[in-house]
Amino acid sequence: MEKTLGKDKRKKSWYFLAFILLLALVSVFLALNICIGSVNIPLGEVLRLLGGGGGDAVFGDIVWQIRFPRALAAMILGGGLALSGYLLQTFFHNPIASPFTLGISSGAKLVVAMVMVFSLGKAVQISSMTMILAAFLGAMISMGFVLLMSKVIDQMSMLIVAGVMIGYICTAITDFVVTFADDANIVNLHNWSRGSFSGITWDNVGVIAVVIFAASFGVFLMSKPISAYQMGESYARNMGVNIQAFRMLLVLLSSILSACVTAFAGPVSFVGIAVPHLVKNLFGTSRPILMIPANFLGGAAFCLFCDLLARVVFAPTELSISTVTAVFGAPVVIYMMIRRRRERAA
């Protein structure tokens, strides 16, 4: 009894430490993202500016109009993306399911691109909410395809291949639409379609925060049924989970999350797979009640870090966010698959 209590306590303090670590990473990268750039701004100055105190007007503009909203967006969207990946992995019982691999991001991207091109042609300003709705529509269409296929294809690896194919088709159509769109704003659109956190306004940040936080809170409330679902559908049903409703909610929430990300940052690869995996290993558990907030923080830290590199490494040229997330995310995924193969063989 004494021993178990000690063990429980040790586990708990480890979880606590891990959360502190994630929070620290998020804060540090958030600060770095605001401080570093084409003009480096000392931290003291940034804090003074953010605290509402007066300061250099140019610095003020850079911090308030460009870097801070962008960093906030990267943070919140990163969290949402990781969470979306986590949900899809839970849903399909597949560790490499994510909005990107299942073609959900690309579906969202396609519809958003079409809406954008259409409205640019008519010179109509489109609101943040419209973008999200368009992305959500696209995400749901792709998700629908994936769900239909999952009924026919019972092998999980084949489902991923099918998802990747859907992604390619959507990307091809998007490229087609973008190439033949006749507008000067096409450069922007092009950047966005490759994935980027640039050009985020405060208006965007507001909408992002409301949508992502609401959806994430919803996910957190579902942590108990998710834990049952981890044991497989049959056991979850026996434990009294309403599977139909649960599955629908899960699909809806993960689609909202990835749609919101795609609407503002375009498709961002690998975050949805790599972060859940890293976080699970950091905590040494897969308990949803811990994993949900941890994934959010992990995704936030990961995206802040990647966006920093995207901006800074080849400044003034900016890399697309997916370029950086792929460099750090893909090795994690490869390592994970090799290790799973080995474990299964053993």
Binding site: K7, K224, Q230, G232, S234, R237, M239, G240, N242, T285
Partner: protein, 365 residues
């Protein structure tokens, strides 16, 4: 009026509304064990899945403690019925303790945090199935036998009144099979747990069950106590066995006997002959056996494997007619095998010594 805890009334099960097995009438009291037996693919799993509401039933009703199961909410049902299924669970990064604790789901609050009482129940359940030592081990890295016991502890931890198990012993070796069923029997006795399960091991089914249901074709062919089920000749009929044989009393299975004229005669008795019969069967040598009393230990396997058995009624002296037939068989055989200790025969089997000398004189031993 008998008080059944679990009943099915005219239950019809199947897939997509197409009936597979009709008119299922089962009943079980608390503390009793019901086992489904029947050939592969007969629909045992389909019945079990319908009982646990995993599969929509096609017709009829399942009644639990007097209430139609359809009326029960998911939560009500989950505090009364728990399951151990055949599907493999592959939870990631969960210790065995975590897996067992998922059984507390119906009892925990909004966020599924375990209370002190929940932990206590988890601990007791693990002790009950003797897996306390596995608490912190990664579930994915345990053996099949351990996994199955963890899943049983999980089901117990749900504090059910009835537990449904689908072929729970299939992946276990004989030691774990016995251990597993002993735990279930013990639970049924001490906690008045009702058990519904399917088993492939007929011998074990006959020993542990209060009731047995035989699934065959589109119906429950027989439902009753093991004595009512294991009547001579029924099991081969149920399983449509065309080769080999099954002996109801001992649960003895024998392969198909070699055909042809007997080439060897086995002089045996008291259990000494069975091993030789089986060796001859392996070699494909047709043989005759005798003289065996019909209640001899060797008699069932001789009956199953030999071309001809010279038998005598139990507790009777060997008749001259039998001796005559045995001598004929010995004459016709190339070889005689004797597994009896002919130096120490009793009053009743003195005649076997005579046969021994008869064979010896003819150089067949």
């Amino acid at each position: 009026m008998e008080n059944f805890y679990f009943e099915t009334k005219g239950l019809v099960v199947g897939y997509q509304g197409v009936p597979l097995i009709k008119n299922i009438e089962l009943s079980l009291k608390r503390g009793e064990i019901l086992t489904l037996i029947g050939p592969n693919g007969a629909g045992k799993t389909t019945i079990l899945k319908s009982i646990i509401r995993q599969l929509p039933k096609v017709g009829g009703a399942v009644v639990l403690f007097g209430r139609n199961m359809e009326e029960l909410t998911g939560k009500e049902l989950s505090t009364r019925m728990s399951v151990v299924l055949t599907e493999r669970v592959r939870p990631e990064m969960m210790t065995c303790g975590d897996v067992v604790a998922t059984g507390r789901y119906p009892y925990t609050g909004k966020f599924g945090v375990l209370s002190e009482k929940d932990r206590q129940v988890v601990k007791e359940s693990m002790e009950l199935v003797h897996i306390s030592g596995l608490e912190d081990q990664d579930f994915a890295k345990t053996s099949d036998g351990q996994k199955q016991r963890v899943m049983l502890a999980r089901a117990i931890c749900q504090e059910p009144e009835i537990i449904v198990l689908d072929e729970p012993t299939s992946f276990l070796d004989i030691r774990y099979k016995l251990e597993f069923l002993s735990i279930i029997q013990n639970m049924a006795r001490t906690r008045r747990l009702s058990v519904v399960m399917s088993l492939h091991e007929l011998d074990l089914a006959g020993r542990i069950s209060h009731k047995i249901a035989c699934v065959k074709g589109d119906r429950i062919d027989r439902f009753g106590s093991p004595e009512e089920i294991f009547t001579p000749g029924y099991i081969p009929e149920l399983y449509e066995m065309s080769t080999g044989s099954y002996e109801e009393l001992s649960g003895n299975l024998e392969l198909k006997p070699p055909e042809g004229k007997a080439k060897a005669f086995v002089l045996s008795g008291g259990g000494t002959g069975t091993a030789v019969y089986r060796r001859l069967q392996r070699e494909g040598t047709p043989f005759a056996a005798g003289i065996l009393w019909e209640n001899d230990l060797d008699y069932p396997s001789a009956k199953a494997l030999a071309v001809e058995v010279v038998g005598e009624r139990p507790f009777c002296r060997i008749q001259e007619a039998r001796m005559e037939r045995a001598r004929e068989l010995i004459d016709a055989c190339e070889q005689v095998v004797c597994t009896m200790d002919v130096e120490h025969l009793g009053d009743f089997n003195r005649e076997l010594g005579e046969l021994y000398r008869y064979a010896k004189e003819r150089g067949k031993l």
